[in-house]
């Protein structure tokens, strides 16, 4: 028993360490471009881990989480942009937002809370449904957010870009955000709520028979996950400095879900690993698209190769290991295997295959 405790609680710490090593490496050696890529990677860790908290633990695929990201991102813009810019871009904001200006940490908190609140309202309505229906409802939610935000011009700037959000997210802010998110996800998994939700993922009827209130467990995870997603959206906005509603739609959803699925939908290590693998791959491919100096010649891949290769890699990754690169394994277990080398490894592994 003690061994399992060590495994589960050490995973988030190991993951934070890996991210820390990446961040330090980028801070010490990288130029601005790679540094930006690293910040983006860390922000994506926040987003994908947030999705994982609900999707990974409950087994219900949510297509709507990017909606919470949009809510968080726009909330960030409402709170931190200069009043002068706000008056130009979003004149319909209520007076206290239009004239006021909140400091970055408080704005982050409020953005996350707003997304969490919307998550609570939405979750109460849709999480009683069977999982596939709930899945479709989350998609409907994404469509609602998209069309409200793209048409409510006076408050969201409509389909125009909102430019001029103070860019407060540097490498360490992004790292702290990712660390908080990974640790919260890790802790949540350890609580009885997390374990109960995992039970419902594996076998709904048995879970109910064991006295688990499925709706309640799902709702807890959904709200936590929506809150962190809003937090991630706010970080994203404060990283880019510019947002527009089409950035929070299908391609973003697909990208984030693909990272989760390729890494392994049912493990925290999978969520973080998926982001790291795909982000680094994208970065390398983008570099190749720009061209590599080989002697006197520059060799460049044609524009668009990045998307194609990325697609192929995802297919290959999933064909070779069906539940993602990490499957249901956690980093803590892997580390433990090194510790107890030679010991027979036998532990029940639930999987989504």
């Amino acid at each position: 028993m003690r061994k399992i405790d060590f495994i589960s609680s050490s995973t988030p710490l190991f993951l934070v360490m890996v991210l820390f090593i990446l961040a330090i490496a980028s801070w010490l050696f990288a130029g601005t471009a790679l540094n930006r890529a690293m910040i983006e990677l860390l922000v994506r860790v926040v987003l994908v881990v947030s999705i994982y908290i609900f999707v990974g633990n409950s087994g219900i695929v949510s297509f709507g989480h990017v909606g919470f990201m949009a809510i968080g991102a726009y909330a960030m813009a409402w709170q931190t942009m200069l009043p002068l810019l706000k008056k130009n871009a979003m004149p319909g904001l209520p007076e206290f937002l239009l004239t006021g200006n909140l400091p970055f940490p408080i704005a982050l908190l409020f953005s996350a809370m707003l997304a969490g609140l919307v998550g609570l309202l939405l979750g109460t309505v849709i999480l009683r449904l069977p999982s596939i229906a709930a899945s479709i409802c989350t998609f409907a939610f994404l469509m609602i957010v998209h069309s409200v935000y793209s048409n409510w011009g006076s408050v969201t700037g409509g389909t125009s870009s909102i430019v001029g959000i103070p860019t407060k997210v540097n490498l360490w802010v992004a790292f702290s955000g990712a660390a908080i998110c990974v640790i919260m996800a890790g802790l949540y998994q350890l609580t009885r709520y997390g374990l109960a939700l995992k039970c419902t993922r594996e076998e709904e009827i048995a879970a109910r028979a064991a006295g688990i209130d499925i709706f309640r467990q799902r709702l807890i995870a959904f709200v936590l996950s929506a809150t962190l997603m809003g937090f991630g959206g706010a970080l994203y906005a404060a990283f880019l400095g510019a947002i527009y509603i089409d950035a929070f739609y299908l391609s973003q959803t697909t990208m984030l879900l693909a990272m989760l699925v390729v890494g392994g939908m049912s493990s925290l290590t999978g969520a973080v690993g998926g982001v790291v693998v795909i982000s680094l791959l994208t970065y390398v491919l983008r570099g190749l698209e720009r061209g590599v100096q080989l002697g006197p010649q520059t060799i460049a891949l044609p524009s668009g190769t990045q998307e194609v290769v990325l697609g192929v890699v995802m297919i290959v990754a999933l064909v070779s290991s069906r539940s993602g690169i990490f499957g249901t394994r956690e980093l803590g277990e892997i580390a433990n295997r090194f510790r107890a080398r030679g010991a027979i490894w036998a532990r029940f592994q639930p999987s989504n295959d």
Binding site: F29, A30, T159, V163, V277, G304
Partner: protein, 392 residues
């Protein structure tokens, strides 16, 4: 499970890319769309490259050769930020961004916050300047209002129009601004009136109810100001003519280019302003030479007159650098703000500490007669005050 350490090694290896900045050259970075729907609009970068080539042939700028670096925004504003950072990393002294506010602003913002000058190829929105992005952001384009205003002026003086009807496609900011400019100028001209106003959306399949209202107007208008763009614009013109309305139609530069003309066979009595006649031959020798050169280099004439902005962009910036004797951002933008009626390939251009977009300009009026575009001579748009441009 040796994957993760390998990735950290990989990232360190990638970090060891050489920095490319060196002092013997000046670098112009293009953070523009080279794929996606924005790409053809950003062909203005092609004439910018021609201008850079010309400068290099004359011995460069401040005795240094100009070097071009570029990065693809993939028609994605978020990628735009990355593209801008990318070209700055490669040593760009000037960052040229996409031909549209929404697409170009994030990249411009990234450039400005890195302390560089951002110059949009042809964003027609005044927000691509002090108010939207910052003092270091400029756009070569003319404010959309000048297009409506120049048609008002020209129609009044050359054609004797007095009673106008305004038909506005209010689906984008550009057309709304153009019609606003028309009404502003029309109101200043003597004995003119607007006999009716109506609006539609570019995606509307039919404008028959607008046409019915137009037909019942008394007095009938002697000109229709139609602010729109293809494909909805072509459909609107076709419906007007099919309904037997032969009233002259005044349009905006959004309708520039001959590609939509086959949709309205034998269209006559339609007029629009443009920077030049893209399909050639243009009455202005400088623009005509540019068209010939473009044809030779790319095997086709420019699709629209927007491409000419690129050449003017480099001309203006290079002149500011020459006057400042440095590429330092502060000095260059101070010189840019001093520019009044600066002669460029596409007519005189100005900036001020209030406006980083053109609030007046020289347009070639293009007449469409029997389905063919023909140049009717240059006409200057009146100056539009700042409060009209910002709709305050």
């Amino acid at each position: 499970m040796t994957r993760l350490p390998m990735f950290s090694l990989l990232s360190i290896a990638l970090a060891a890319q050489p920095a490319l900045a060196d002092d013997s050259s000046i670098t112009i970075g293009f953070a523009i769309a080279k794929s996606g729907w924005m790409q053809p609009y950003d062909y203005a970068s092609r004439t910018a490259e021609m201008a850079i080539e010309d400068l290099n042939n004359k011995g460069g700028l401040l005795g240094k050769q100009l070097r071009i670096v570029s990065s693809d925004t993939k028609t994605d504003p978020a990628e735009g930020v990355r593209a801008a950072t990318d070209v700055i990393d490669q040593g760009a002294d000037l960052v040229v961004v996409s031909c549209d506010y929404d697409q170009g602003a994030p990249a411009a913002l990234a450039a400005v916050s890195a302390g560089k000058l951002a110059f949009s190829l042809c964003a027609g929105d005044p927000k691509m300047g002090i108010e939207g992005v910052g003092r270091q952001a400029f756009t070569t384009s003319h404010a959309a209002q000048t297009q409506g205003a120049v048609m008002a002026d020209w129609g009044f003086a050359k054609k004797g129009f007095r009673n106008a009807y305004v038909l506005l496609d209010d689906s984008i900011e550009f057309t709304t601004s153009a019609c606003q400019g028309f009404e502003y100028r029309w109101g200043q001209l003597e004995a003119t009136s607007i006999v009716g106003r109506d609006s539609f959306k570019n995606s509307d399949a039919s404008i028959s109810s607008q046409i019915t209202r137009l037909k019942s107007l008394n007095p009938a208008p002697d000109a229709i100001m139609l602010c729109t763009y293809p494909p909805g614009g072509a459909s609107a013109v076709r419906q007007l003519r099919a309904a037997g309305i032969e009233t002259p139609v005044l349009m905006t530069m959004g309708m520039d280019g001959s590609y939509w003309l086959p949709a309205v066979p034998n269209l006559s009595n339609a007029f629009l302003p443009a920077i030049g006649l893209a399909s050639g031959p243009d009455p202005d020798k400088k623009i005509n030479d540019l068209i010939e050169r473009y044809k030779k280099a790319y095997g086709e004439p420019p699709a629209t007159a927007f491409v000419f902005y690129g050449y003017a962009l480099v001309e203006l910036w290079a002149r500011a650098v020459e006057r400042a004797q440095t590429t330092e951002t502060e000095a260059v933008f101070a010189e840019l703000e001093k520019m009044r009626d600066e002669d460029t390939a596409i007519g005189p251009m100005s900036f001020s500490d209030q406006l980083h977009i053109q609030n007046k300009g020289r347009y070639l009026i293009i007449g469409i007669e029997k389905g063919k575009s023909e140049p009717l001579g240059y006409w200057n748009s009146p100056e539009i005050p700042k409060d009209v441009i910002f709709k305050q």
